[in-house]
Amino acid sequence: MSRLLMKGNEAIVKSAVLAGCRGFYGYPITPASEITEAAAVYLPQAGGVFLQAESEVAAINMLYGAAAAGVRAMTASSGPGISLMQEGISYMAGAELPCVIADITRGGPGLGNIASEQSDYHQVVKGGGHGNYRTLVLAPHSVQEMADLTALAFDLADRYRNPVVLMADGFIGQMMEPVEFPQRATPPQLPPWAVAGTAETRRNLISSIYLETDKLEAHVRQLEAKYLVAERREARAEEWRTEDADVVLVGYGIVARILKAVAAEARAEGLRVGLLRPITLFPFPNVAFDRAAWQARVFLVVEMSTGQLLEDVRLALNGARGVEFLSRVGGNVPTHNEVLERVRELAHGGAGAGEPETEQIAHV
């Protein structure tokens, strides 16, 4: 047992190197820059490559090259940079190249601000690039999970030969908590499909072009089948006292931390409140929602975006239960008390009893 106090962003890089990552191509952006800075320190020492690219467009295409050459590789960015990377993410999914992308989210649209929002949900979870592809998305809510889910992200990326996004808000990236790491480093391995400049790999081809319509359809169907397998096998969620919950709180990242405190306080007041925290955003943990819906009367989705997670929750429940919504944006965070107040209203007054938040009224 050796727990170290560390920023979430730093934990990502250390976990990545332990997981065998030997390539990092990045471009600075707040609040993700610590990842790039830590990579500049540790990747070369581990015998890997660190390179600061001229843009996020170049960075993701360098990742394409590194992955094609058969090395575990990653990049890190935030909202505006992830927007620029969408081209490369689509190409990597199309060419079936694994990589890990850390998105430490900030406020948007446009330049927005550098405070925490969760408004990258759509562009990351739904796939912001062109074509029929998905990215697998992991949503850590603690520094320990920044480390653990980074390691998982590399495994999933290799297993599905697909980009995996680690999506955390600026709080999770910037905060420090104790974290423990595996004491054994994973050795880098050369996948058989890579193009490594050797006789054995000479006949390999990395490409996403399928000129014939039937061949492209077959390729897209094969990708689709892969995502279906991932949906069956990889969905993860944390369920806290949902088994007898009347009101189920739903949130990820820093919001889930706030919801844990709210749920605990509500329970202490005798209210039957539980928490369902998606850990994978794609695949979405639909089964956990089914399970919770057996008992629950209403779900309260809390997010730092204007109803992006909300859509997936509604799809998961498919009208079976009421879904209420509370959000803050712009870098503001739902406060403990405003969520608790809403929970009390829902617990006592039934679904839909809560008044809209003043912030929402201002938007309308």
């Binding site: 394409y64 090395v71 405070a115 709080f171 193009v195 790999t201 081809l205 008390n337």
Partner: protein
Amino acid sequence: MSDQTDLDYIVAHSKARAFYPTYERKEELQHQTHYCPGCGHGMVHKMVAQAIDELGIQDRTILISPVGCSVFAYYYFDVGNVQAAHGRAPAVATAVKRTRPESIVISYQGDGDLAAIGSAEILHAANRGENISVIFVNNAIYSMTGGQMAPTTLMGQASTTSPGGRTPAEGYPLHICELLATLEAPVYLERVALGNNKQVAQAARAVRKAIENQVNGLGFSLVEVLSPCPTIWKMSAVEAQRWIHDVMEKTFVPRVYRDRTQTAEARPAPGPAISLEKVPAMLGVAAKETPAAFAGEGAATAEIDWQVRIAGFGGQGVLLLGEMMAEAGLDAGLEVSWLPSYGPEMRSGTSNCHVRLAREPIDSPLVGHPHVLVAMNEPSLHKFGSSVRRGGWVLYNGDDVPPECERRDVHIVARSFTHLADELGDARAANMVALGAVLEIAQVLPEASVDHALGRLVKSPRWLDLDARALTRGREVLREWRGEVCHAE
């Protein structure tokens, strides 16, 4: 010819070994390329393949094919193949080469791909002096997409998107070799042409040299090839060749723009990687043997939950104060969290952080209603003073609390920590005076854990000594204050 049996046609000249005998990746007509009659790509492909043969690098070679007519270069080259997004081949090539330094990476691009959408990638790959070989085929037009204007289209030249001929309003032909020759890093830049047989022979030499430079580790080499496109130019193959020589060369002068092949030296290879066993230690995450101290000695089972907010000006050590508490708490076996305000606030203006120390796992790291507020300046007192829990503590870095911040339901300790620190030798130790007072209030962190945190976060001996004295002074301040309270009561 022995490796090309079972063909239903006769090859008059033997093909380079770096080409596949038949093009099985191609849907139909697997004995011929997809290029139009008279297209320059066929000739340039042959030059590349012959160079690969001559240099004996077939197994090591990785070809990066672009978007454009040569997107299917991988149909033909029996080497490792990576197909890249439009314009991004130099970025892809960069990472392939850096990942596999023993490989020979050839980035093959057309003029729309390289000079328009990929202008940033080629400029920066060249500027970094990537040890790659770039073959840049310039036919002054977008051919694959049907003849739109390229950045290399000549003045007056008609295209489907400059139907009246290119004018200055569409910009001028971009001279890539001249542009890259302004950079320090490139080793070899040459423009060649396919205007006649003599030029073709020179082009073949240049292509070989660009690849050989990489084999020798010399750095970035680029060969620009003025290349015919009879189909889009609407010319016969012979006319197209002649047009290169008579017209195109007037804008794009074939010559050597940079040649440091004789003087360039191979960049030193990076040192050998450390062994896997040493990676955890290198990362500073290797397990330590020392057991954690025990928090709140004598009260190991008592509930601990301290929520602290620390705020002040940037530069007052507000974040460090919080980190010190968290580090000491971790050493004492507690659950801890530290959450900073971040961004421009770090560089100027105000700064604050949330700290929690608890026995149980911490749910929310956000501290909305602290037990203790350390307000290192008056704005912080105004901003957060009212958020402190009833019965909590406000430590204010000032001797007088502004009347509007007075509260009767919390303990307010108002002393100028800055002044006290100044008396100890440096006003900048005010944060540690404040920390001393917090420690005296919370009483959950053993001295040893605080010493450990101090040792981990403060490296200079002078500061270590000063900070230790400041912590002691802070503890005294609180004891004095308690005395005052008792006295008052």
